[in-house]
Symmetry: C2
Amino acid sequence: MSHIVIIGGGFGGLYAVRTLKGAPVQVTLIDRRNFHLFQPLLYQVATGWLSPADIASPLRAVLKRQRNVQVLLAEAIDIDGTNRRVLLKDGEVHYDTLIVATGARHHYFGHPQWETFAPSLKTIEDATEIRRRILFAFEAAEREADPERVRSWLTFVIVGGGPTGVELAGTLGELTKDTLRHDFRHINPAESHILLVEGTDRILPTYPAELSAKAAAALARLGVSVRIGATVTDIQPDSVILRSNEQSEKIATRTVVWAAGVQASPLGRILATATGVELDRAGRVMVAPDLSIPGHPGIFVIGDLAHCRNQQGQPLPGIAPVAIQQGHYVAELIQQRLRGQTPPLFHYRDRGSMAIVGRAEAVADIGGRRFSGLLAWLAWLFIHLIHLVEFENRILVFTQWAWNYFTRNRSARLITGEPPPST
Amino acid sequence: MSHIVIIGGGFGGLYAVRTLKGAPVQVTLIDRRNFHLFQPLLYQVATGWLSPADIASPLRAVLKRQRNVQVLLAEAIDIDGTNRRVLLKDGEVHYDTLIVATGARHHYFGHPQWETFAPSLKTIEDATEIRRRILFAFEAAEREADPERVRSWLTFVIVGGGPTGVELAGTLGELTKDTLRHDFRHINPAESHILLVEGTDRILPTYPAELSAKAAAALARLGVSVRIGATVTDIQPDSVILRSNEQSEKIATRTVVWAAGVQASPLGRILATATGVELDRAGRVMVAPDLSIPGHPGIFVIGDLAHCRNQQGQPLPGIAPVAIQQGHYVAELIQQRLRGQTPPLFHYRDRGSMAIVGRAEAVADIGGRRFSGLLAWLAWLFIHLIHLVEFENRILVFTQWAWNYFTRNRSARLITGEPPPST
């Protein structure tokens, strides 16, 4: 029986696996983590709205009734295209067809040392670490006497005005204005300064300009200062240097979150070495129109790791809908090939884009219709719930959302992760 | 206004704070963590049933409407009884009355090196680390070819047959028999070996003997082997040495959990140095019948840190009901003193004891009535919910419990905490 190996249990890999349900093939899913992560909601963990388990589903639980799949908790370190092997840190797996869906990581534009002071939001551990830093900043401010230092503890800088940056800044605005309102005795969290820094001339630069403006207005209502046309030139433990209009400005802050750059997973480079395939500047694999690697019809690359263009020649963005459609497409293609059929090329159906700004506040562009406010927020909720519907914890997440919405509560605001000091 | 400083936001400290609501005093609660932890449910986090945030409530959220309280996220490192000061790692706080409620830690009976191989269950970080080890053991077994090694990965040793050990062993039995049933392709989790090791002649040694027998029978049904009269003489990364009847036995295992010994918080020793008060062998403070330190009527010690005897001269156990009643008592006493009244001595009302063994299976001794099975389980659920009722997330926890109960699901079984390897 044909053996299909899929590396990566994100949106692309998981949807490929599920599409192969019942197919006369054997599937092996390899992932370093034992869970699928619903990345679009990571910022809600970082701000104490949801718990890690609310947005992470154990891969074995999701796939336990799909008998043609085995899950391996393992790390792929090399690919041998000649002998059709994936080399693992501890072992190897042979494949007939390989799907690589290992996604992207954050990228500090040549300044890897910034990561210590400005973590990114890609993993569960990132989210709980950012949550720890944000919550600790208020605790430190509460105990600080010097007004300058209080101000720096209450200044939060988010670098990058894409959807993640916007969502994080908006939620942080709500946290300071609303959730934490009665929590402190010496500081007023509502006096926090939240800066959202974007290098281009508007936030959400890949969205229609009209929605960028609406999102900026909504952020302003939540007390977020948006700095467009500004780039970060340095990050230190207690400050960030911004440069805009050829002027530099030093912002005193203790909490910086990086939401600016992504870079393809290192498996891209490994594939380039193994197959000679070309990479783009972000390290993504230049795939053929059927998402295979040119000259290697048995190796596919999907999701954030793939550089794929739409009919207009534009590269597709690194978002969940693209990965889901690609995973589905490749799994169908493999079955069509097995049946001796000629599959069509990949065609991305753009169903629109949306970003949440705050409680009952979002912007959306669906099928060319643009809307914002409560309606967009409900659409966002609905579409996210549809995707969560795949998973067992959807009812709990919905309960949690509804509960938090009506009570304005964020019960998951725990400072954890650092081993507690020994007293 | 009289300033009452409380160190420790566990059951004792938090109930003292809440009893002082509306009193004409100023209260400062000092804790190293920003949340109150519902410790009796920690084992449910360790086995993937609940998330950390389900059993941890941010102290500021719990107390935000109690205006006479301020919360300090800080670590107390010394007490100056002469000048009535608590010295913090970074600062100091003056008090008129001090309540020390810093609880207990685990204790390895002179073998601190065992902690690396056999973590205890005291903090949220302990629970997620134990969860990681338990879940990873099944993953490693799934990928292991050698039957000996598979067996050692599927052998779990829990040291200590008190309530925590019994609850953990029972829940682990359910996890292997039930939750993970369809998750693996190469191993059968139901073939796991779960050993519960107890040094005395029965598990739950502080409970009536009848309940110990019922709990042992329930554990046997869940596949747990109970080893009574056995002590651990060595722990290595891949084995445990048990000694019973003057014979030693080596158990090959990769997962050991320590639920055996507790020792009072180091603040006990600090109090002994500062005030000359006597400590018992576990480092607990020998308090006066009104829970103050003899000769220091303005310093109280409550909860697991206090050595306090009942009318029969038996020391009270280190359990939540004792701490809660003591916190309540001291807070009332302080108010009576301020009103010029003479307070009564502390009198513990023993409302019984219970332990959960598995799904719909528990043992209870309430007011001299002993029962087990579903009824005891419902009593356990009810009493725990009553206490959770103090906190905002009770509805969510109840939903989660009900959901998990009916679906036999454990959605929180995530392997987290270790930074993911870099691919």
